[in-house]
């Protein structure tokens, strides 16, 4: 569901941005830093975004449950979409 995906991904982007800024000194080029940020976004970011959603908007799960979505459904869909986006971005970054 789009609303869930958008909320979780906003948290994911914020977490990715913070971790990338915190680790910016570890990379000697912009592309290496960007590669790392996209990797965090695609692999760990969604999980952390879900944790943030659970903390701030947990009650909203009942809206999705009433519409037939289980928590696992929602998390897997959000993670799958973000992973797919990350893979595409990683391929593009490696080409340049």
């Amino acid at each position: 569901m789009w609303t869930y995906y958008r909320d979780v991904t906003l948290y994911t982007l914020a977490i990715t941005l913070l971790t990338s800024l915190a680790s910016v000194a570890m990379y000697d080029s912009f592309s290496a830093g960007l590669f790392n940020a996209v990797l965090i976004f695609g692999v760990f970011g969604t999980g952390l975004g879900v944790l943030a959603f659970n903390y701030f908007q947990k009650a909203q799960y009942y809206m999705y449950h009433n519409l037939g979505f289980t928590k696992t459904d929602l998390i897997m869909r959000a993670w799958f979409v973000n992973l797919a986006i990350a893979i595409i971005l990683l391929v593009i970054i490696s080409l340049f």
């Binding site: 909320d7 908007q57 009650a59 009433n66 519409l67 979505f69």
Partner: protein
Amino acid sequence: MKKVLQLRHVQKRFGKKEVLKNVSFNVAQGEILSVFGRNGSGKSTLLKILFGTLKATKIHLEINGKHIPPKKVIPNQLIGYLPQDNFLPRHLKVRDVIPLFHPDGDDQDLIFRAPFVERIATRKIGTLSLGELRYFELLLVAHLNHPFLLLDEPFSMIEPLYKEVIKEFLLSLTETSSAQVSPKKGILLTDHYYRDVLDISDRNLVLVDGVSQTATSVEDLKRMGYLK
């Protein structure tokens, strides 16, 4: 065909504390079953178990004699649930939330035409009073196509005018119209506003020491220790 939900021998233990020891009941489409109990008696726990968001220590759930694993309740949209906590996104407007629940235009019209909805349609969820929000959440969930509906304190924080509208609405959900083969809903309801509940319920249960017992009158509620 009218559906009947049967719950048998529900048990729930939190650590050493056994909250539900033996809860059993039937509820059919067209019927309102109320569940009373003192604070901490396990009413909300029971509803969460039925909805499939809390695992029971022991449960046997059937609909029309067919065994239903609790994890199938949500994906198969067998039961709708109005929880105690408000669950709508606060940043969205009322008119934008309705299509999330009801993509079909006719269903949306049903909500927009419901009493009091037009005057709150342009407001954000976060600006609604608790009573307005509770009423709006009930409308959204009750108009979904689940054959059964669980309501955890639907009269809580509701002003008297809304209460009467809600009672009429819940009764309408259990009636069979000429266009339908069976009534829309079987309803399981719990609330401490016992007079409002008794006004609309067909049968009543009281949870006493984790066991469900049948009550038919206010005197029974007193005898079972729910009222003085």
